[in-house]
């Protein structure tokens, strides 16, 4: 589970750090959907449409129930996930009246059958912009009730600022597949890291008695046969084999073979 660090209310002085699950809706996809809705509204209302979107958020069942209450819901099925367009009733009426070229709605007035039909058509046109989320749409948008669909798992709101202020929500029924890390570190970023190398040309075993008898001039016979390739070790792992020698005033190692998987 990928989580975002967030902070609690400030009323207690210190805002407690907590981790909140991160929504599976990629911001780029949410932006594409919002741009599609803006174009739809521009065509529908005949005016430039200004909108912003809120940060995609994970939804619990209770949160989804609260968001779906007093709202019209339109379901669009898709291969990757199903999308629910959430249109609060008050905003829905304001939108449809604006589309009809009428004034502000009366408070608490419900939509007529004609208005509901118009809203279905608006939702169907908005659904065309859901492709970035559902990957492949399966049918058009259809009105549903909250109990007819599973609780949505993630949500973002599209807040229309002009020509009429209203908010509509985009919810997804199933989490989108994890796209993986958004960026990977290039191997070249490690080019400057110094590695301590050690060339080993011979090895042997010395018992403790021989060890304590070591003196200057002592000759120790090792197990490695003459002509056996030396090894170049990094961090205790053998990374190459070759021959040791001298280059100018320094010892050197000539690589004959590189180990594909470093071995201890």
């Amino acid at each position: 589970m990928i989580a975002d660090a967030t902070f609690g209310p400030a009323s207690q002085g210190v805002r407690a750090l907590r981790f909140a699950p991160r929504a599976s809706i990629p911001l780029e996809a949410a932006c594409l959907v919002a741009n599609g809705i803006r174009e739809t509204f521009r065509e529908l209302l005949g005016e430039q449409c200004e909108l912003v979107l809120g940060e995609p958020a994970v939804l619990g069942a209770a949160a989804w129930t609260a968001l779906a209450r007093d709202a019209l819901l339109f379901l669009t099925r898709g291969r990757q996930t199903d999308i629910v367009l959430v249109l609060p009733e008050r905003d829905a009426r304001r939108l449809v009246l604006r589309a009809f070229g009428e004034g502000d709605p009366l408070p608490d007035a419900a939509c007529s059958a004609l208005e509901l039909h118009a809203l279905e058509r608006i939702a169907a046109r908005c659904a065309a912009s859901f492709e970035p989320l559902c990957a492949e749409r399966r049918g058009g948008a259809r009105p549903v009730r909250a109990h007819e669909i599973p609780p949505c798992v993630a949500y973002f709101d599209v807040r229309v600022v002009a020509p009429i202020p209203l908010t509509l929500g985009i919810a997804i029924v199933r989490d989108l597949p994890d796209p993986g890390p958004s960026g990977a570190l290039s191997p070249r970023a490690l080019d400057g890291v110094p590695l301590e190398a050690r060339a080993v040309f011979a090895e042997g075993v010395l018992d403790a008695a021989a060890f304590v008898r070591l003196r200057p001039g002592t000759v120790v016979r090792l197990d490695t046969k003459v002509g056996t390739p030396a090894s170049l070790n990094i961090a205790g792992l053998r990374v190459a084999s070759g021959a040791v020698g001298v280059l100018a005033a320094r010892t050197a190692f000539q690589v004959k073979d590189v180990a594909l998987g470093a071995t201890p």
């Binding site: 400030a10 009323s11 932006c31 919002a34 979107l53 809120g54 940060e55 609060p88 949500y155």
Partner: protein, 241 residues
């Protein structure tokens, strides 16, 4: 069985103790005027805490559903509703203007409430309660912070010569027939709030302790007098026997 003087003395101890218990509640007023102070604003780190100007009261809906007035300005957002430390819904004006408007409980918009977006709410000196939320421009993907105001809290002032009636330590009611003047902080009729502070209450702790001690002494004196009377009665009965 205790007589009426003992019951009165115990009541006096209880009420003096109550004043001291309330001394640290924000905006508390005492039962007894002799321990009342002018009140002071104590600094606070809470961005949703403010002190009303002298003589002004916050307007709330108390637990019983009736309108009440309080000096308690230690506010918080609970389930999307602005409340004070006692849990009363704080009234205000969503459009920010008190003229021709009826104060209502200030609420976070439903979507933001559900998504828990009002965690950084603050109250400003003009009584505006606001929070920020992310607004992403879909054309550029750029985030910015958008300020959302719940409204401005309402303040009340009672006409000269009519003091509000104490309901409990932190609540007062309007006297019968008296309609308080309502407005908003800094609107020309009320001075601004003192944000990031809390009303330290109007209970003088030092004097309160002294009065509580006196109440205990009075109770002790009654006990001593009673014991003396019982002694005299017993002696008299012994003599009669």
């Amino acid at each position: 069985m205790l007589g009426a003087p003992f019951a009165d003395a115990l009541d006096r101890i209880g009420s003096r103790a109550q004043d001291l218990r309330d001394a640290y509640r924000p905006g508390a007023t005492p039962l007894h005027d002799d321990v009342r102070t002018g009140g002071a604003a104590a600094p606070s780190t809470d961005p949703l805490s403010a002190t009303a100007p002298p003589g002004a009261w916050f307007v709330v809906v108390a637990a019983g559903g009736e309108r009440a007035y309080t000096r308690d300005g230690v506010l918080h957002v609970d389930d999307g509703v602005l409340r004070n430390a006692d849990g009363d819904a704080v009234l205000g004006y969503p459009d920010g203007d008190a003229r021709g408007a009826v104060p209502v409980p200030l609420r976070v918009p439903e979507t933001d409430r559900v998504l828990g977006r009002a965690a950084d709410a603050v109250i400003e000196s003009d009584g505006t309660v606001a929070y920020t939320r992310a607004a992403i421009d879909p054309r550029t993907g750029r985030r910015r912070l958008e300020r959302v105001a719940l409204g401005r809290v309402a303040l009340a002032r009672f006409p000269a010569g009519s003091a509000p009636e104490r309901v409990d330590a932190t609540h007062a009611g309007a006297p019968v027939g008296v309609v308080p003047h309502l407005g908003t902080p800094g609107d020309g009729t009320f001075p601004p709030l003192a944000p990031r502070s809390r009303d330290a209450g109007a209970v003088d702790v030092q004097t309160g302790l002294q009065r509580l001690n006196e109440a205990y002494l009075a109770f002790e004196a009654l006990g001593a007098a009673q014991r003396a009377r019982f002694g005299v009665e017993r002696t008299t009965l012994d003599l009669v026997k």
